[in-house]
Symmetry: D2
Subunit: 346 residues, 4 copies
């Protein structure tokens, strides 16, 4: 077993950051976690002062955020659970201050091979070219081999994780008739919309309600395109807001190139995810449900095939804060440091 690690966490006040804190505080191979908070929280010295619900459960020191403080903290890995803008700046600064520091960034800033893709969809400056060259897209089920040497990991978006994991086996096998179009209809709980109070996330506006949002403009679209190799005109990706705290369920529609039987589809998925403990393929005839993945780091995948074997629906479920954010970040961390893939995640 590799040596234990020391980690720094920047940004713990959002939902994903707090989930990350809870995972790291009980990770068996993390020997020290330090949290870095904005100047406005300079009076906070340990995490339970900020989150009383951690009293008696887990705690860790908090320090004021600065590039120097992080770079010189002795941390092997820094997790950034920060806004895109902050990550854009912090990643190159941290690499400059401490070239041996490794970074897992939960924002969108380092998820795209082409810097212009980020700029276009996020309406923000391009990420630093050198930092981007050092970065990999952290979806371990597809790119685990790149993690051991990765300096920077762009942790995937929650929606793309569910869509890409649900369709990639079919794409790689060449089973999909993409000329008929691929439809990805995704639904997410409200933690995905962040912790900032807004009209759209006011209890009364979400409870007993349901709505689609950001049609044809959601910033997670290019991740789906990049990692499924689908041209924008050949798929539709939509997002809806569910009146639940956590979880994403994606219903994915494809027409097959040639008719298949259910056992073939199940076998394709099982083979693809053999040895990947955090993706669970359902038995043919069983569909995943949100309730079985919330508060876990699993992605559950099931499917339904029409009687002619032509039309296939894949249903992919995960917890947007687990496999969709903090859990995946820890899974990437495990891959980078050589720990077991599920360490701290079951």
């Amino acid at each position: 077993m590799n040596d234990p690690s020391r980690v720094a966490v920047v940004g713990v006040t959002g939902y994903a950051g707090f989930e990350l804190a809870k995972l790291l505080l009980r990770h068996p191979h993390v020997e020290k976690t330090t949290f870095f908070l904005r100047e406005s929280h300079a009076d906070i010295h340990c995490l339970s002062e900020l989150f009383p619900q951690l009293r008696g459960w887990g705690d860790a020191p908090c320090r004021v955020l600065s590039v120097d403080a992080i770079a010189s903290s002795g941390a092997d890995v820094a997790f950034l659970s920060t806004p895109h803008e902050a990550s854009l700046e912090l990643v190159p600064q941290l690499l400059a201050a401490n070239p041996s520091l490794r970074i897992i960034d939960l924002s969108g800033a380092f998820r795209f091979g082409r810097a212009a893709t980020f700029s276009e969809w996020y309406k923000l400056p391009a990420p630093d070219a050198k930092a981007l060259r050092l970065s990999v897209y952290g979806l371990p089920e597809l790119y685990a081999d790149r993690l051991p040497n990765a300096q920077v990991v762009g942790n995937p978006g929650c929606y793309p994780t569910s869509v890409i994991l649900g369709l990639r086996p079919l794409i790689d096998a060449g089973w999909i008739n993409t000329s008929r179009g691929v439809v990805c209809d995704c639904k997410s709980g409200v933690t995905g919309a962040g912790k900032e109070p807004k009209r759209d996330t006011h209890f009364v506006e979400v409870n007993e309600n349901f709505r689609a949002y950001n049609l044809f403009s959601h910033r997670h679209t290019p991740e789906v395109s990049d990692h499924l190799g689908l041209a924008f005109e050949d798929f539709v990706f939509t997002t809806h807001l569910l009146p639940v705290d956590r979880g994403i369920l994606s219903t994915l529609y494809v027409w097959l190139q040639s008719p298949r039987q259910a056992h073939e589809v199940e076998a394709l998925f099982r083979d693809f995810y053999a040895g990947r403990p955090l993706v669970r393929v359902m038995t043919a005839g069983k569909l995943p449900e949100l309730q079985y993945v919330t508060h876990t780091n699993f992605c559950d995948i099931g499917f339904a095939l029409d009687s002619t074997g032509d039309r296939l629906i894949v249903v992919s479920c995960l917890d947007n804060l687990g496999k969709g954010a903090a859990g995946q970040a820890v899974q990437n961390f495990n891959g980078m440091l050589g720990y077991p893939e599920t360490a701290g995640l079951l």
Copy 2:
């Protein structure tokens, strides 16, 4: 204005039946409503004994259900909010006992032109041929002209109402490239699943959960096919259970035959639904939400068009107990009797 009517209601113990009761009890052109209950409720003489929440609000006499009692009750119209099996038997019996009685059936029994379609999808005997010949599919926005002379109305399913209203203008205009496939991803609240306690509708199994169900086998599928003229192999219709009491939101995906602009799409819908007060077309750029149609009898329709004008998403929303069941039944009643379309519905 036509004369007021007397109506009979069979089946008030389900969610749709109770909603119907509330609508009829305050309908301006209904002068008498009588409720017919099973023998086991023979001790109930007025509706508020069964539903205490009606005390001080509205009330009506209850009688023991029998074909003779209904046929001889003086009712002009009988609403059947009964299981498919019961409607299959009651409709021909009532017509035989009182040939001038008109019937609005909320079950699936009289929704299909081909008797075999019903039998195949519902696994039940075919509806009586003569009664079926006398019946029309009660979607007033499409078939209002058939209502004045209809003896039997098969009140549409909740999901098909939302899907058909959302796509029919595009179908009729020939705008859809059906060779690319049409995807209808529908989500419904729990009243759509009935009032009978089941594991699947236990609070803990629905709350903080979301799931797809009956993929490729939902019995509402042939209604969609019949009234959109789509071959089964060219569309997919799916249903999901939302953790809310009421409401259906359908996200409908089509590829267009040729590129369109948003104002053209809006104009197509507005023209199609001109003079139909219970369908509300949203301004381009605005999408409907469940919260604006629950506890109403409206169907709200909005859309999003991709920048190339090729891919179109239509979002259609209604209350499954309102426009999706009881409200539509009253709208059909208004059409049959010559009352204003929205009487008792606003």
Copy 3:
């Protein structure tokens, strides 16, 4: 029947104001409703521009808010669904500008006989002395006789309405042993907390959560004291936030002076509320539930008596936007104008 009225509504952007709008737009004795909006909404000319969900349902003109505009609008009655601060200013200004205008104020500003009570609990200036002298506390089940001549009505708080209606019959009968203390444990849905997005009403902070708030400091406390005649040291009034949109359930605990039987308690409540159609007394052994009063203007009252007849629990339920706010305002309006008490409310 009295003549129809013209009304002005100031403040329609909150939950209570919007509920009021919907009630007034279909009130049978209101011939014209004009809405007055802040300068920032000067571009809004009819209500459905602000609330698209009103399209096809009801609509009314909107004008820019000013004292003169309201005073000269021809309105017989002005409803103020405004913040306490705004009502404090508007009421005397409106009375000065149009001495015949009658006002129903939904804020807390004119609910207290003693101006100092308001100032002390709301930390705001005292209401205008003259306007206060012209005002009555608008709880029609207790003070209906004061309404016909009232110039200003202070519309009660939602919590106090449920508590006072639940306990007043027992207080008036002298049945309560107040030396043992009276406990009023109240729970409310989130619309009671207003429409402004705040951390405390963010979906994720309310959903799957429950909490007490404002213990010993809730501003509704003195209304309870005033109208039950209870000294502060002899009762406790608490408030909790339920993860639902609407509704208040108050559980009220008293020890009786001498043992009673259930039929006596039921008779006491029935006699007290005889002829008051918007309070529904449950049969002994039945308890009210939130679901039977939401979206209505009823207050339902039930009770449980212990086997010795000494300890009594009263359960009082209402919709905080209905009988707890807008519905009660309309009930007061009916009383002021001589319309039937339930006009527009069933």
Copy 4:
């Protein structure tokens, strides 16, 4: 550290049993867990066949339930998460078959010192006298010293745990003026009502609803009386159903014998629970919320004191499946076997 244990679990199909399974499957001092299922589940050989959500997470063998099978299974401790009737029979049978087996019973059968109390409140036969003599009430914060030698532990009810922990420090200190009455107003999530589908727990009957139930007749009442030493006539204990999955919040009202200051109250609680890691006393001025205890094994306790120091409200929160059931059972297990109190619980 003591040796690891082998445990048997009877009854895993309810919510508490499943929660217990999850805790035991990752308990650091449990080396083997065997689940015993009814004959009807004889085809189930490992737990993940029954609960697919355990795939990839934890698993354990299942065997058909019989007294002999449990007694001879090598288990040191048997957890019974069974109905009262089953526990009444199983406990003496298991003790007869294997006198060294130790039992933690989550039902109500062995919670009362007086057998007649159980019979009277549960309308069931009295528990076996000998087994009852060997049993202790498993509330570790009060009776930890009895656990090491306990043969049978009656695991407390969820409501009583929250009420007793919230009031016992005040009772022991003699601070409460019981002649004024003590009111315990408790609210629980739906998992407390069990997994069996019933009308009362149908989603639509719970969602957007709230209600009191079992007033003056809840079977948890005598536990409160027994362990607070309160005569039935001096307190009221009520229960309400919250539209959430998990959690209990109890609002506890007392009048004090003499005025106190907040720091005194806080000190009393802190001293009482010093060294008890699973009760967290809030700082004066802070109140617990359901969200901070769900999915944990903590009981959080806070309070509010009125400005005169006479009236005190204690708020006590826990997860009904955690500290209110399965978590407490594991805490008792730790106490019986000499493991650290929080082993497997943080």
